[in-house]
Symmetry: none
DNA sequence: TATGAATGAGTCTTCATTCAT
DNA sequence: TATGAATGAAGACTCATTCAT
């Protein structure tokens, strides 16, 4: 049985390796040249496989992007999760900085890729599902604010969620991608202050 | 002299009109089809001129975008200026909401164009100069915060400027382009509250 | 005025010449290699123009075929017309052979092209209109048979039209394309005999 | 011996089954998608075998078509034969309608396949042998007419054979594939009338 | 200056065929 | 023998740019 498996493994391994090498090449081209310059032939060449192989695993050019973005989103999410474990009952004064830190970490997962993905991808149906990640985070935040309603001032939760998410996302995004000079604990303190003061009674 | 001039004027006027019609066609195509689908031939056709004429006024495709973005930035800036006249000595409590309002107005100058320009333009050297608009605004804010140093808490000005600009830009951008349901006075109040609480001692 | 025209003529003439050369190349490739081997790049190369030029005049590969077929159908129809002028009141014994002769002539307009077009073109919406030529001829025949109802035996006109058109088309087609040895007056006589005997009381 | 055989039989049987499943898949794809969209990979997938297996039994794409067409021709021929048994001495008035009926039956063996094969297959050397079926039938008809020389008018037999075969083939083909509304006994009567009148003294 | 015909490299994608396992 | 991953030439089509008129 292990014999069969070991006989088949190489095949599966080869496929997996090919997919992997294609994705890496895609990421590389995407980061270095941008979405507009990413072509399937180019990716294949960089990956060292034939275009045919690429199309064996990805039905079209968009699929490359989708796979890349999905992978990135997953890695971001797990980074986020790791940072946020066991904080449900922490006071806001601890929860907020930790969350900011977590978002910064998530942004640092692959900043180059994030820059391209966040910056120059035309609206694409295939990516719609990905955006749900943000919506998911928004929903979580909404629930959390409702749970802690007594800790904060009276406010339209939906509006506050929009304000806070826009805010923190912009700050972390900007710091990681354009202003690394601000990337230190002071940024976290300032951002946390911004959020805490905004929420407090 | 007036002879020469009158002989030339029509020509210059015609040139200007041609440039204008090309830019409008570019904007139209850009908004409707996106940067990827914008082609010089299509723009020329929509503009009702020949490709040749287009290339007479714009050396290449990028030049169209640059002109468009420059024009848009100028219109945004003047909108901003109009809203901010005579506020030098206003108290923060008045200055901040007005500024937020001004930024929202600037974002509404041509949201469709802004969406495309902000969202799916590949990094382009030619557009670097445009970013100076933001830098310009940052510098202004920086000066203003220094002037009002006594009104606010002690803080690293550069860092605060980064935080505030990221924040307000993200909120206005998001509200205009993705969350129109928040586009009302409450948004301005919340945003102002965010900023004022962040700055106060 | 003629000056303007003569200045513009060259341009129009160039376009026309390009279209013509493309169509000729298409016909050549189609006859020599068949529809399956006809590619736009190949046609362009044979025509001595760039693919781009081809696409300036023909929106896609099918359009080449449509233009070719349309032209061929027109040439066939005018050949047919020439042969059938002034026969409205001729007796059947004269009308039938003349029509057979006319159909043979029509089939000889460009037999090679006809072979390909009639033989190996997959069903294509764009060609549907062309098939109306046959329907047109069927309608004419139908009318004629009704007009001459008294000269022929009682018969379901629609059925007879189907039988006759299938028949004569097959004979002329086969004679021109596969059995040139039969291409003489005896074929016309035999075919006419077939038709006349079929119709007579 | 039975040992060897029983050891081999399964293998041979499996081969046969594989060939069969491939051919059926080919036919299916051919009918549903046309010759242009028939690809060896697709056929293999539909057949549930690997491309490699396909190439084990068919050296190239054409071979699929050849096998398919050959099988179809054989089925058509046997249909024809079944209908024509024991008619050698029947009078023309009986022989002709029966033959027409037989040809119609042959055309109905697999009209979908016939439509594709007759309609959109590029000229292919490998299919030349198949055309011999028609030639075979022509030879039979030729002999028959010679045998019955006294029953019919004087005529160039070869010419008459060409006329008759073209005619009846076109009618049956057209009726089955494009004009089912004519597919009834009246069609057989009319066609027989056409033939009989053509041949009678 | 304006025109628009022409160019051709480059893009996405398909598919017959091979070959290592 | 079977498998299916891999190959890469070829095809349809686009578009920035040039240049003769």
């Amino acid at each position: 049985m292990s014999g069969t498996r070991s006989r088949r493994m190489p095949t599966q391994a080869r496929s997996k390796a090919t997919v992997e090498v294609i994705l890496q090449a895609s990421a590389q081209v995407l980061k270095r040249e941008g979405w507009a310059r990413l072509s399937t032939n180019r990716v294949a060449k960089v990956a060292g496989v034939s275009v045919g192989s690429l199309y064996q695993y990805f039905p079209n050019k968009e699929a490359l992007l989708v796979a890349l973005v999905r992978g990135h989103a997953e890695r971001q999410l797990s980074t986020l999760s790791e940072h946020l474990i066991g904080l449900q009952d922490a006071p806001l004064e601890q929860l907020v900085p930790t969350t900011v830190r977590a978002l910064l970490a998530a942004h640092r997962v692959d900043p180059e890729l994030h820059r391209v993905v966040a910056g120059e991808i035309p609206p694409m149906d295939a990516l719609a599902e990905i955006r749900s990640v943000q919506d998911h985070f928004a929903a979580l935040l909404s629930m959390e604010l409702k749970r802690r309603r007594h800790e904060i001032r009276e406010v339209d939760i939906e509006l506050a969620v929009f304000v806070l998410i826009s805010t923190v996302e912009a700050i972390t995004h900007g710091a990681v991608l354009r202003h690394e000079q601000f990337l230190d604990d002071r940024l976290i303190e300032e951002t946390s202050l911004l959020v805490l003061r905004y929420l407090e009674r």
